[in-house]
């Protein structure tokens, strides 16, 4: 396997009582690679993402970050290793401006005597720099998130995930709730991350998404690895077949 491996899961299983959500699933991700994960509802995609982000502990199997075996006890642990998750429900506070959302919980501060005060200037500057780096266009960094369109909100959520030099970003259905004309912008953003050397895992039902941004696609079926291929060696019809559990 390549030297650029940033994340690997080896024969991961996850049981909930008598239910087997994942069974001996393998996954690997290279630096700057976009991996598409497809599968029908209940195939185990979201469970796998939650295992990778540390929200669930795997029942069996192990995880490797930069080829080193790790145990994740919470999403905090995976964040510290450079993995960020973009949640499907976005997890943004609509009443706060873009910059506040990007830095929520990690606000830049300055010391005045014994007190730590928010550094509004620095936050604004960092926000503008970061949005420019990702080529995200908004009127102002001070705009409230509730005033943004669905696509812009998705962009803010991705900006938030990547604000602290994330090496790996997990996205669960990043285009599911978007208007057609906004989907392209989010996909451009994913390609931008790739250019910046960030590795991305995208869960999506939309073949257009997969075939626009991904380098490789893997299909889960009933909690197991079903098929996997470089994008150039497969077709939409074949991938749709995998989702339904059909292989030639």
């Amino acid at each position: 396997m390549s030297d650029n491996l940033v994340l690997e899961a080896k024969s991961v299983s996850k049981f909930f009582g008598t239910i087997t959500a994942l069974q001996n699933v393998d996954l690997h991700l290279n630096k700057g690679e976009v991996l598409g994960v497809v599968g029908d509802n209940g195939a185990g995609k979201s469970t796998l993402m939650k295992v990778l982000s540390g929200l669930y502990k795997p029942s069996e199997g192990s995880l490797f970050f930069d080829k080193e075996k790790v145990t994740l006890n919470s999403p905090r642990d995976s964040q510290n290793l450079g993995l960020e998750m973009v949640y499907q429900d976005l997890a943004l506070a609509g009443n706060l401006p873009i910059g506040d959302n990007i830095f929520l919980g990690r606000e830049p501060t300055r010391k005045v005597g014994p007190f730590n005060f928010l550094d509004h200037k620095k936050r604004k500057q960092l926000t503008e720099e970061h949005l420019a780096k990702l080529k995200i266009n908004v009127k102002s960094a001070d705009q409230k998130v509730e005033e943004l369109s669905g696509g812009q909100r998705q962009a803010v959520a991705i900006a938030r995930a990547t604000a602290f030099n994330a090496k790996i970003v997990l996205m669960d259905e990043p285009t599911a709730a978007l208007a057609v004309k906004e989907v392209g912008k989010v996909l451009d953003l994913i390609l931008n991350l790739k250019k910046l050397g960030v590795s991305v895992i995208v869960i999506s039902h939309r073949m257009d998404d997969i075939f626009t941004v991904c380098d490789r696609v893997m299909a889960l079926f009933q909690g197991t690895n079903f098929a996997e291929s470089e994008l150039k060696n497969t077709s939409r019809d074949e991938v749709i077949g995998w989702i339904m559990g059909k292989k030639d």
């Binding site: 949640y87 609509g94 959302n101 919980g105 501060t109 509004h120």
Partner: protein, 343 residues
């Protein structure tokens, strides 16, 4: 004019209207205060803007404003605190008993805020750790509990007469002889200075500290706050504790103002506090509102009551008017939200 042109004009008018909304959102309330002052001055030219009447208004609102400020923070988290009126009474009774027991004045002074602090913490712990389904229920319970305890420890009778150092806080006067000449009657109430200082401290807290930012974030989307690694329960306990603490300060001010602790102290003042917060532009759904707005809301309630009293308007009509203003203020909030989400 043809149809298309007319539509274009409608659109222009609408954008002008929409453009004015942020302006009114920010300054509309101050405009309302100025209009009220102007009208009352015209109606009562000799009395309303007199030094004595203005200081009277400030002395009256000073203790109420403490409740409003605390309840405001709670409402920003999309919560509610119904118990502040009872906390003010319990802290007042505690202060009175400490005073009667002959404790030194500086201990007596600490008793009221300390009791408020503990009551607020009790609310916060109940709401978070006991997982009460809504703060309304927990604080409705403590509304009865705290007033009941206040009556139990005092035997349900008023306790009168506090040390001069206590009285200064609610009733003290800072003479302005320097400006108005020897023996002038003009003065600034101590409680006004205290109110301004506390409002400033909480303005800094809410706008320039991380915890302040998180309080707004929790009101906007508690899930987002949790996902950002914020300990939502801990912040909520801080908020309810501070709310109780401010009610305790209110009890201290009221002690000085009335020189007495009485069973009906602060009765229904939690509703006045909520009204002031809502009139001041905070959203009941959380995440929205400013400290300056709370100050304005408190002033509107105070000026309205004072003006209506000066004009001998019956208390019953005062109730009708204040109720109408609350409904109007919330209706404006509803319209504002509609416009904000229409893009």
């Amino acid at each position: 004019m043809d149809h298309g042109e007319k539509r274009l004009m409608d659109k222009n008018q609408e954008t002008l209207f929409v453009r004015l909304i942020p302006f009114f959102e920010r300054y509309g309330i101050l405009l309302l205060i100025l209009i009220m002052i102007a009208v009352l001055h015209l109606l009562q030219p000799d009395v309303f803007l007199s030094w004595r009447n203005v200081t009277n208004i400030f002395k009256q609102v000073s203790w109420q404003s403490m409740l409003a400020l605390g309840v405001f923070m709670v409402i920003v988290t999309a919560g509610i605190d119904l118990s502040v009126g009872s906390i003010i009474m319990l802290s007042l009774m505690g202060l009175a008993i400490a005073s009667k027991a002959g404790m030194p004045w500086y201990v007596v002074m600490l008793v009221a805020p300390a009791i408020g602090f503990l009551c607020g913490m009790f609310n916060g712990i109940g709401i978070t750790l006991l997982r009460m389904p809504h703060p309304f229920i927990m604080t409705l319970g403590t509304l009865y509990i705290f007033r009941g305890i206040g009556n139990l420890i005092s035997g349900g009778v008023p306790i009168t007469g506090f040390a001069e150092q206590i009285r200064v806080i609610g009733n003290g006067k800072i003479k302005l002889d320097v400006f108005f000449g020897e023996g002038a009657r003009e003065y600034i109430p101590t409680s006004l200075i205290l109110m301004i200082v506390i409002f400033f401290i909480f303005w800094v807290f809410l706008n320039h500290t991380r915890i302040g930012k998180w309080i707004y974030a929790i009101g906007g989307n508690p899930g987002a706050a949790r996902a950002a690694g914020i300990n939502v329960d801990r912040i909520l306990i801080v908020v309810y504790t501070l709310c109780g603490f401010l009610a305790g300060i209110g009890g201290l001010i009221l002690a000085g103002r009335t020189n007495s602790a009485y069973p009906n102290a602060g009765l229904q003042s939690e509703l006045d506090a909520i009204a002031a917060v809502i009139i001041g532009g905070a959203s009941f759904f959380g995440g929205r509102g400013t400290v300056l707005g709370v100050f304005a809301g408190v002033m509107i309630m105070g000026i309205l009551r004072n003006g209506l009293n000066l004009m001998n308007v019956s208390v019953f009509w005062q109730q009708v008017l204040i109720g109408s203003i609350i409904i109007l203020a919330v209706y404006i909030d509803v319209l504002r939200r509609q416009l904000a989400t229409r893009t």
